[in-house]
């Protein structure tokens, strides 16, 4: 019994991993096979949730909770929001257009899968995967230890990624603003012209009732 525990990760952990990994793969398959975009997004949420479970079973609790908080709870909500606003119909099964580009995409994805598979297959050659699994330390994956390593050892990549995100945010703001401001300026100019030519504010000094009174007086 003890032999088994030191050599492998144990039966309950294996079963948990099988369930979570299975859910991850099934969710990913649903994401790319469902024709309804909203169902596809929900499947992706399920995938992220199961993936968070895999992280948690690897003692990376902080990463797991961030996976749910950021991906499932925020980014995918935005996805759903956009899909709902666009309200696209269900996509058709096979479209002839863009087959070349899609084919290239499949080739590229296949190359990544092949690379990953070859690394896993050669696990003895990879120093990280080949060595014996050791029990992680007590503070492994805690908020404090992840935070400490982010702000000491990985300070530069962390700040670089933050800057990249900031650039993306500012870029989004600029793209959405410039158009809107031009529109607003045009709209204001148009309204002013309309008011000047049609409504003639000076005739409404006394309010609408006065205007009608003048109108009636002119008739009599």
């Amino acid at each position: 019994m003890h032999q088994l525990h030191t050599q492998t990760v144990g039966l309950p952990a294996t079963i948990t991993f099988a369930i979570l990994a299975g859910l991850t793969v099934i969710g990913a398959l649903f994401t790319i096979t469902r024709r309804n975009p909203v169902v596809a997004v929900i499947s992706l949420v399920g995938t992220f949730f199961a993936l968070a479970g895999v992280y948690a079973s690897l003692s990376a609790h902080f990463l797991a909770i961030l996976q749910i908080l950021v991906y499932a709870g925020a980014i995918m909500v935005l996805f759903i929001f956009v899909v709902m606003i666009l309200n696209r119909d269900e996509i058709t099964r096979v479209a002839a257009r863009g087959m070349v580009r899609r084919g290239l995409g499949v080739v590229a994805a296949g190359y990544v899968v092949w690379l990953l598979a070859s690394v896993v297959a050669n696990s003895s050659a990879t120093p990280l995967l080949g060595g014996p699994l050791s029990e992680p330390g007590a503070d492994f994956g805690t908020v404090a230890s992840v935070g400490a390593s982010l702000f000491t050892d990985f300070m530069f990549p962390f700040e670089a990624v933050s800057l990249l995100l900031l650039v993306a945010v500012v870029g989004g703001l600029v793209v959405s603003r410039s158009e809107k401001q031009e529109d607003d300026a045009e709209e204001t100019a148009r309204r002013r012209a309309q008011v000047a030519t049609e409504i003639r504010p000076e005739s409404m000094v006394g309010g609408p009732t006065d205007a009608t009174a003048n109108h009636e007086a002119a008739h009599h």
């Binding site: 749910i68 925020a74 709902m84």
Partner: protein, 377 residues
Amino acid sequence: MHMWETIKGSFEYGHPGFTGLSALIKIVYLMLAFGPGLASILTWMERRQSSLMQDRLGPNRANIGRFKAWGITHFLADALKFMVKEDFVPVKAHKFLFALAPVLALAPALIVAAIIPFGAPLCWGHLTEIVPTGTCGQAVDLQIARLDVGILFYFAISSLSVYGATLAGWSSYNKWAMMGGLRASSQMMSYEVTMGMAVLSMFLIYGTLEPGAMVAQQGYWPWQWGIWGIPTALSFFLFLTAAIAETKRTPFDIPEGEPEIIGYFVEYSGLRFGMFFLGEFIEIVFSSALMVTIFLGGWHLPFLDGLADRVPNIAFVLITHGAWIVKVFLFTGFQLLIRWSLPRFRSDQLMQLGWQRLLPVSIANVLITAGWILYSR
């Protein structure tokens, strides 16, 4: 005989059987009995309170035989009505998502209770003895999960409840429901940011994310509680505002908008509508419980210092649990009071308040708190 000994051994303190069973009891008590129970009573209380504030009688007739108690059994009548009403599904609705949405609205509201400490730790095997604080060797926390990520768990799970509202609106195949769903998703996303920022300064002050440790840092005297202090009082206000916006209640009831669109659940009837309804009130209960934990001393009974050294452990645990219940109940009552005191916002005012007022203030609050902690070290 050997088998029996093994099974019995696994139910001793610290073994998997004991841990599992105690967790199960805690889950059943807090998530299935306390949360929905208090939420059900709140559904009656809200209507009764509003009627008293508006000089009406409100629901006061429901009774079981001679037992009337101001009509408090109205929630049972409501539950019965939900169960026997027709379960209507629009013909063009997306059947699967239509069925999934109420579950996604109710489940996160219940699951977030996992991190909330609801009483002083029990001392297993020494229940009838006097156990001073911190001297117990076999403590059973009155908290379902003591997670290192703590309150982030609450945020992660409660951020999923937005799918319930959004999908309900989308899958109903109804323009008003769709509008309600869009409003709900934008509103809940916006106020989540402020909520996180507000609690961030509390993380800085406590130096931990774990609610049990936060309660332990707060003392018996009310001036030792989290709310006491200028930055923390501000984060309490910001958090409360954002939490009310998250539960989509007046003055932030734009997704429901009773005078105009009647909300994302307009096509729901029977028990499925009941799930949305109950889910909203359970959210109130557990968001109040979280605020009590962070800002109002958790289960600490005010003005009675050193009670643990005077009464048996079991009595101490029950008293602290009672104090927690009273605090949560009063706080939920306060949230109902807000609903009937304030007029509602317009949709654009809501967004403006969230992004242009509350968020900058909460970010400034985090920076000032961080600076103050750095200076006082």
